[in-house]
Symmetry: C2
Subunit: 347 residues, 2 copies
């Protein structure tokens, strides 16, 4: 196919805007840039190679090619995309909201577990039982409209700071994972979050923090009730009722419910992601399942108990999960050795 | 901005593929084609004008502009995108599957409502009660893996024919609505189905019939159970348990669950779509809510009971809904006068 240059000149004169578009796509496809490392915060090694080899194999013509519309990648959030220690961010949000809840219902001030949370006694708070925590979740994550909830989370996430780094939680997204998300999207993969955290909570900041749109966030979801406010305007109210527990097998069920496709790539970091990895890996053709191992106490945290790392209730990565990963060729990402840089703010 | 023609020649030589891309986008943006009617099966009138004026206002710079990522349009399926009379297609599927269910469980042959369905007595079948129908739905829509179900629906939808037109149901998609879906997508709108029908059922053929991907189908969803087959492979099994009843207020709740955004446009045709229209229209900025009125007994069906049309249990459009539409500026589409052509196969 050839085109006369006079025709091109005419084109240039009349379609300057299109040429700008052309140049934009050109700069993306120029060989020099295409060969630039899309994952500069990853050290060379098995993990990085597994990712780039997979993406190349599934996006170029060949036996492992995956049709663009089927390119789905799912990511756990806590401990996979951002820091989850010393406590899940959403749980900190819930504890932070307790004073506001008690201000509206003063009778709660003397009732457990609210009394303990108000005391500010960190040790006592850390010892709260699951039923107690559930009471706090129900009180702070339901009873308001989704619009009110969105506003509250938006304000909180813009101002709250992590106790160690004294930075907003959204700045504690892992830089290597942000590069990975962009790299996958640049290769036609739709990137989804599949989180045990609240779907409504994560949707508030996922676009800003990860470039992931609300409709691509699958998470634990409570009941939603349609109704009307005092002006007769429709409202959606968050109910203290669990609709989808997006953990363990629930992650796969949530993926089926919201996406309706089996992922080609899945990234997790704990036992709560096991079934999602298993389901992903069991698909036909090429599939990639990876787990982030937190083995870097200096730059982030070290916990397992896999590989003799300290045990943790938050983001547990058992030795059994590690052994299963080895057996099934799920790739374990060592934070310490695979990640050159953890956070964007690091020098 | 200017470019030397020698540079362009070089470009032409080295980037032939990009030029093809350029030409492809050129033909899309060429003025002659842009002015071609994107909705040729719609007669000129208030309905067509409402659509084109809305799309222009929300996609061009101005006070009603909608950011591309927020452009969401939701469509009811039965009676809005395809024929729903004399009976919902999925219900016909369920009745058709009864012999296969009974073959596996012969004891059902003498038990109601299966006995009546097996009798083939159309009048008796039409009189089955809701609890009876629910037994048939449970028996034919659950108990199998999602993969088995997909296969069964795929086979059925490829071979089953509508009793009146003797054509596959997917050919009974309304041509004006197919044009509308394409027109909206060409203008950056994501098109979603929000159906009272089964989410898993509609997902099987939505891409083929409407160009709508599985992840853009919101529908009635049953419980899904993660488990393993006899070879230890992960399976998802459909359970006889209702998770989301995607009708009435449930449509809005389903939209929140799966999409997490309020639609800018919504299309329905019955009382089951009322809350979805109300919720859409209550959003800020420009919003468009429309209802298809089946007032064409000759080319399709006529039912209401709005406007004195015959009453119907399937796709009921009450006079109250019609009055509300008038009051709230929801646009009613008259199948008879607004649609030049109903089906693609018509001359």
């Amino acid at each position: 196919m050839t085109f006369g240059s006079s025709f091109l000149s005419m084109l240039m004169a009349t379609h300057a805007r299109l040429l700008i578009v052309l140049f934009a796509s050109m700069s993306l496809s120029a060989p020099a840039l295409a060969q630039a490392d899309p994952l500069p915060s990853w050290n060379d090694g098995a993990a990085k190679t597994a990712i780039t080899a997979f993406v190349e194999a599934t996006t170029r013509p060949g036996p492992k090619f995956v049709a663009p519309e089927a390119r789905v990648a799912t990511f756990d959030q806590d401990g996979t995309l951002w820091v989850e220690h010393p406590m899940y961010t959403q749980l900190i949000y819930c504890l932070d909201k307790v004073p506001a809840v008690v201000a509206k219902k003063p009778e709660l001030a003397t009732v457990e577990p609210f009394k303990t949370v108000l005391s500010g006694d960190h040790e006592a708070i850390a010892k709260l039982s699951m039923p107690d925590l559930e009471k706090i979740l129900a009180a702070t994550l339901s009873g308001m409209t989704v619009d009110q909830f969105d506003d509250e989370v938006k304000k909180w996430i813009a101002s709250a700071k992590h106790p160690r780094w004294k930075r907003p939680y959204t700045e504690l997204a892992y830089q290597p994972m942000l590069e990975l998300l962009k790299y996958l999207r640049a290769n036609g993969y739709k990137t989804y979050i599949a989180t045990g955290g609240g779907q409504d909570f994560v949707r508030v900041y996922a676009q800003q923090a990860y470039g992931i749109a609300p409709e691509q966030v699958v998470g634990t979801a409570g009941g939603i009730k349609y109704g009307y406010d005092k002006n007769g305007q429709p409202t959606l109210t968050k109910e203290p009722k669990l609709l989808l527990n997006d953990n363990d097998a629930g992650k796969v069920e949530g993926i089926h419910l919201v996406i309706g496709r089996r992922p080609y790539l899945t990234f997790g970091n704990s036992t709560g992601d096991r079934q999602m990895l298993e389901y992903t890996a069991a698909g036909d053709g090429a599939r990639l399942a990876m787990l982030v191992l937190h083995d870097d106490a200096t730059r982030e945290y070290a916990y397992g108990p896999a590989r003799g790392l300290p045990d943790s209730k938050v983001g547990t990565f058992t030795q059994a999960l590690y052994d299963e990963a080895q057996k099934k060729n799920w790739v374990v990402i060592s934070m310490k050795s695979d990640w050159k840089r953890i956070f964007a703010f690091e020098p």
